[in-house]
Amino acid sequence: MTARPYNFAYLDEQTKRMIRRSILKAIAVPGYQVPFASREMPMPYGWGTGGVQVTASIIGPGDVLKVIDQGADDTTNAVSIRAFFAKTAGVATTTDTTEATIIQTRHRVPETPLNREQILVYQVPIPEPLRFLEPRETETRTMHALAEYGVMHVKLYEDIARHGHIATTYAYPARVADRYIMDPSPIPKFDNPKLDDCPALQLFGAGREKRIYAIPPHTRVVSLDFDDHPFERTKFDAACEFCGSTDSFLDEVVVDDKGGRMFVCSDTDYCEKRQASKTKSAAE
């Protein structure tokens, strides 16, 4: 039982081929959830096994990998996944959004716009947007097949009737290429507009649920809403304490036990770059 030499990026080539076929199908049918034979991974289900399998299947020796969780490169799970690929694939890693060719993410889309050379890989816990309205897979697959999405609109309407708002703030459902309704994974709805017409390929991997879906580059992605209740991006009344940004997603940090709060960018790379350029221009 000495350490076995694992294949490049952990998965064997047969498995990668199977996953790549699923990815190709997912790209061909935007927003459709393709079942795939998800493998057991050396990290727990629910901790990014779907994203890790997608990344492992598409990564090559020349790729530069960035991994974020909650927008940050230094959260423990992001550190762990980055270390996994550094070890099993020996690829270069980065925290710089612009340098990365593959970005694996949990719960955020980077603030820095992506380009056509990049692939964004989402870790997805529950791929089925209708799951909490209908627990049965047999039912939801039929609903997707028939594009029978009335139940979702009823849910959003009930939110408005009850709260005056659509009370979904993350994992906000969107329609892809005018056909399938998808769950963009639990990104805040603040990030939803970034999915639309994005030049980068977006891949979604759900390991436990054994599903892969995709948004090809420059695909129309529309967050569900009503004419009289249009989709609204979450707005913050505060600015980032560090970089002063007023148009990025902010994390609230409790600074003392007397109700003190401060707001900082959730995207650490974006925030650090802005701080650096401010320092630079101040020095000049």
């Binding site: 039982m1 694992y6 952990y10 064997d12 034979a37 998800s38 493998r39 057991e40 991974m41 050396p42 727990p44 289900y45 629910g46 901790w47 096994t49 969780d69 909650q70 927008g71 230094d74 959260t75 423990t76 799970n77 550190v79 762990s80 949990r106 719960h107 049965r136 897979e137 047999t138 408005i160 709260h163 005056g164 708002h165 009370a167 703030t169 993350y170 994992a171 639990p186 990104i187 805040p188 603040f190 507009p193 639309d196 436990r208 054994k210 599903r211 529309v222 009289d228 249009p230 989709f231 609204e232 991006r233 979450t234 997603f249 902010l250 994390d251 609230e252 940090v253 409790v254 959730s266």
Partner: protein, 379 residues
């Protein structure tokens, strides 16, 4: 402070070093060896092999040591190891009549060919803590009988089937594909081969609870233990190059055949008992029996029974019985969720602000149609 989870590599390395230290425990106490676990905690090894879907005592024992005795963690380790192993093919179907039996009991017949063999069992022990185990001791050697030359022991359900009183299991079809739930995503409705595979690696506790629920009226199926047998059996694989099956070794297994509530008698078909089947690696009657109860419950649709209990709902049972999946997803809740939480917090504050407005104006301001926002334009 929650931001403390932004700790990075050093925090993780330190945590793992601490884990390794706690696993070892007090250095003045002898370190446990995997071999001791295999020999003396063998039922734990059996469970880890079963639910880890890998028959390898050495790996399972090592996993238990590494997991500090947390069996679900050990099962997870074994699964993650197993998934990297190459697949050569499928074994030939096991003929459990040919088992070298250590134990075999039937609750349906007082005596039967092959007899009742109690074997190593906790049954009929008094559950009193044996304080003498506090000190090392050699238990006396167990009684033995001359080896039985009878090559096979007939299965009780086959005896019943001889009188046509129980449904026949569909015969195995030569060359028909077998489901492999580790290589294909489960589709619903799932066939019985995929269901049985999923149950065989399902969580013992979950299946125990479901099996129990069928006994308490949530999908009752009137079970009798036709037979439970535990012993060693040889595994063979057909090698095309050789043209015959070669033995790969022998494994210890537990098989449970339940005899259940009969069907027929009204539609021209004579009334017959039905079957539920359980099969696991090693010795685990609790798991094999629970599996057999749940297998039978999941046949409700096939047998045109009303589905009233969770144990009869294949999507519910099969989607939730895997403890590696379940523990991963439940425990992922401790990963940071502050982005989503922040989004909820913002909405909640907005609702409360508007709520205060409602008491003065009579309706929330958000219900009033507003001009398109910037966010809309950004879409």
């Amino acid at each position: 402070m929650y931001v403390a989870v932004k700790g990075g590599e050093r925090a993780i390395a330190n945590a793992h070093a601490l884990l390794a230290d706690r696993r070892r425990g007090d250095r003045s106490v002898a370190e446990i060896e995997a071999r001791q676990i295999d020999e003396q905690l063998s039922l734990a090894v059996d469970r880890v092999m079963s639910e880890g879907s890998l028959y390898d005592r050495e790996i399972a024992a090592l996993a238990i040591k590494q997991a500090r005795g947390d069996l679900i963690e050990a099962i997870f380790l074994v699964r993650a190891y197993r998934t990297t192993l190459p697949r050569f093919g499928f074994a030939e179907p096991l003929d459990t009549q040919a088992m070298a039996l250590s134990r075999r009991v039937s609750a349906t017949f007082k005596d039967l060919p092959g007899g009742q063999v109690l074997g190593p069992t906790f049954d009929y022990t008094h559950r009193l803590i044996d304080f003498s185990l506090g000190e090392p001791a050699d238990p006396p050697s167990p009684a033995t009988v001359p080896a039985d030359n009878a090559p096979t022991t007939p299965r009780v359900v086959d005896i019943i089937a001889g009188d046509d009183l129980i449904e026949n299991s569909p015969p195995a079809k030569d060359g028909a594909p077998v489901a492999d739930v580790t290589r294909d995503p489960t589709e619903f409705p799932a066939d019985r081969d995929a269901r049985l595979q999923t149950l065989a690696r399902g969580d013992e506790g979950f299946l125990l609870g479901l099996g129990y629920s069928t006994q308490r009226g949530y999908g009752r199926n009137h079970p009798f233990v036709g037979e439970i047998r535990f012993g060693e059996i040889e595994v063979e694989m057909f090698v095309a190059e050789l043209g015959f099956a070669v033995p790969l070794g022998s494994i210890a297994v537990t098989e449970c055949q339940m005899v259940n509530q009969f069907t027929g008698g009204t539609d021209g078909e004579p009334a017959r008992f039905t079957r539920g089947y359980g099969f696991v690696f090693g010795q685990s009657e609790r798991k094999a029996m629970s599996m057999a109860l749940v297998d039978r419950a999941l046949r409700a649709e096939e047998l045109a029974e009303q589905r009233i209990g969770p144990a009869q709902d294949a999507e519910f049972v099969l989607s939730h019985c895997d403890n590696v999946q379940a523990t991963g997803f439940v425990e992922h809740l401790k990963l940071p969720h502050y982005v989503d939480f922040q989004a909820e917090l913002a909405l909640l504050r907005q609702l409360r602000t508007e709520d205060r407005g409602r008491t003065t104006e009579g309706y929330p301001s958000s219900v009033v149609r507003r001009p398109s926002s910037g966010a809309r334009a950004a879409e």
